[in-house]
């Protein structure tokens, strides 16, 4: 089943071309590692998919519906690079922040029900933040804050989870733990994952497909195909290709 289909996407910031003729599709259960150099358009693609930016050309289809008409927001979980209004003195508890993820499935007026409380509990348990559920977000370490935002992203039990460089603020141990949690979600709950990352050495261990962007699609396919591709050897050089293909601990 196709979860996402992107067709001939084009986008410009002012007059600078950021994306050109981007096409790819994502099947249910895929774990896509979205990589590319800085300024390659990774975050822009994600923002267009999420409806935060309007494409100049092309189309995006989510769960069979054109993105402009897509309303089932609860089917998508999102973990942004950094929250726009996040300030360390914001007076919200972990539990309150996780509950924010539920509002995408609710119609007016948005209220937390008893069933929702169970979902919040499950999400906090999964992200291992239950013991700090009443703590203010500003009291937590970077790793803990990130786990809270993961819980917020998955509280709705989304079918598609989009994460934009979620591990940049984490130490290596927390990063490894984070990747494992994501892997479990993908394998056990069949959550489709699109993960933007610069961590090309780790992504091969978990992702099933690689999407390499550099304003256009340089490569999209399985890791096996990537690693066997002579074109990719020429494009990246043997060392980088080996680094990406290295899939062992």
């Amino acid at each position: 089943m196709k979860i996402l289909s992107v067709e001939q996407l084009g986008f410009r910031y002012n007059s600078v071309e950021v994306l050109s003729d981007i096409s790819f599709s994502v099947d249910a259960g895929d774990y896509i590692g979205l990589v590319g150099p800085n300024g390659s358009g990774k975050t822009t693609v994600i923002k267009i998919i999420l409806g935060l930016l309007q494409q100049e050309k092309g189309s995006v289809t989510l769960f069979g519906t054109d993105s402009s008409a897509f309303r089932d927001r609860q089917r998508i979980g999102y973990l942004p690079q950094k929250p726009t209004h996040f300030n360390p003195h914001f007076p919200a508890t972990v539990k309150e922040i996780v509950s924010l993820g539920l509002f995408s499935k609710q119609r007016f007026p948005k209220r937390i029900t008893k069933d929702d409380q169970a979902l919040i509990y499950d999400a906090m348990a999964m992200a291992e933040v239950l013991d700090i559920s009443d703590a203010l977000i500003g009291e937590l370490s970077g790793g803990q804050q990130q786990r809270v935002l993961v819980a917020r992203a998955v509280v709705n039990k989304p079918e598609l989870l989009i994460l934009d460089e979620p591990t940049t603020a984490l130490d290596p141990e927390a990063r490894e733990h984070f990747f494992k949690v994501l892997y479990e979600l993908n394998r056990r709950e069949n959550v489709t994952v699109i993960l933007i990352t610069h961590d090309i050495a780790s992504i091969g261990k978990y992702a099933s497909k690689l999407l390499y962007l550099d304003k256009k699609v340089v490569f999209y396919g399985s890791f096996e195909d990537f690693c066997l591709s002579e074109n990719m050897t020429q494009y990246f050089g043997e060392f980088t290709q080996h680094l990406i293909c290295h899939r062992h601990d």
Binding site: L50, G51, L52, R71, R73, I76, Y78, P80, P83, T84, H85, F86, N87, H89, F90, P91, A92, T93, E96, I97, L100, G101, F103, S104, F108, P109, K110, R111, I112, D134, L136, G138, E139, R152
Partner: protein, 285 residues
């Protein structure tokens, strides 16, 4: 100093009216204030108060009730601030500054041209809640209930948008509408506060209870509750203190609010010191 206990004070109808209207308005200001402070729009109250000054000048010129003229003008101006931020790519403070200065300039020009009502106009600068009429009390209560109801109905949308606007948009919340709602409600509230503390001190009722609550709150809901309690208590204590000490009411209310802020600020530092002595290395809150 006047020797009068609060029970005696409550026997006077004008004092009861002041307590009731002041409490409702303070409640609305305190709740809106939390959202405005967290969105770094604290000074919108100040800016819209200046527009209220211009609107009152127009009302006096047209011989109409100030609130009837001021409410639509201030609501339109609040939307104008939002549009300037979105369309002219201005930061909030610059957009507020533009609308604010136009408001006050209009007031001065109208007062200069018309003559004769300068005294009336300047009485609005400092407010006088003790002179509030029955009709004004009813209007204040009715408008406060409308504003409170809308905030309660859209509470979670406001919370989500205030914490993380981008995530709120991804969740399908119409952030533009929520922002418009917030500034429109602020516009109505600012006009209501002009009688309590006057145009000059309006922003204090919006900002001070919120920042007091933020010093010691343990959750977002707790912040709203604490801010409301602080705002209402400041108005009641302020009115009573101004009567007993024979001081201007609006300014006394603001100073009581500030007193609460200082207490909360000191309390936070004492608690923090205690926490650090028990668990060294805790982050500063």
């Amino acid at each position: 100093m006047i020797d009068m206990d609060i029970v005696t004070a409550l026997q006077y109808e004008f004092i009861r009216r002041a307590f009731i209207a002041g409490s409702f308005i303070a409640l609305v200001c305190s709740i809106l204030g939390v959202l405005l402070v967290l969105r770094r729009l604290s000074l919108i109250g100040d800016g819209l108060a200046h527009v209220t000054f211009g609107s009152v000048a127009i009302a006096l010129l047209l011989r109409q009730h100030p609130a009837i003229v001021a409410i639509p003008i201030v609501m339109l101006s609040s939307l104008g601030i939002l549009k300037l931020m979105q369309k002219a790519r201005l930061y909030g403070d610059a957009a507020i500054g533009i609308v604010s200065s136009i408001g006050i300039a209009a007031g001065i020009l109208i007062a200069a041209r018309s003559g004769g009502f300068n005294v009336d106009l300047f009485s609005f600068l400092f407010g006088n809640i003790l002179a509030i009429s029955n009709a004004e009390v009813i209007t204040s209560i009715a408008l406060s209930i409308v504003v409170l109801s809308v905030i309660i109905l859209f509470y979670n949308e406001h919370f989500s948008t205030t914490f993380d606007e981008e995530f709120a948009r991804v969740s399908g919340i119409n952030v533009q509408k929520i922002n418009a709602l917030l500034v429109l409600l602020t516009g109505i509230t600012v006009v209501l506060t002009m009688k309590v503390v006057g145009i000059m001190l309006t922003s204090a009722l919006l900002i001070l209870p919120a920042v007091t609550a933020l010093q010691i709150a343990k959750s977002f809901k707790h912040t709203m509750l604490l801010s409301s309690l602080t705002g209402v208590a400041s108005v009641i204590i302020g009115i009573y203190a101004s009567l007993v000490l024979n001081l201007p009411t609006g300014a006394t209310i603001v100073m009581v609010n500030f007193f609460f802020f200082v207490i909360a600020f000191l309390l936070r530092h004492v608690v923090q010191k205690k926490r650090r002595s028990i668990r060294p290395g805790l982050p500063e809150l």
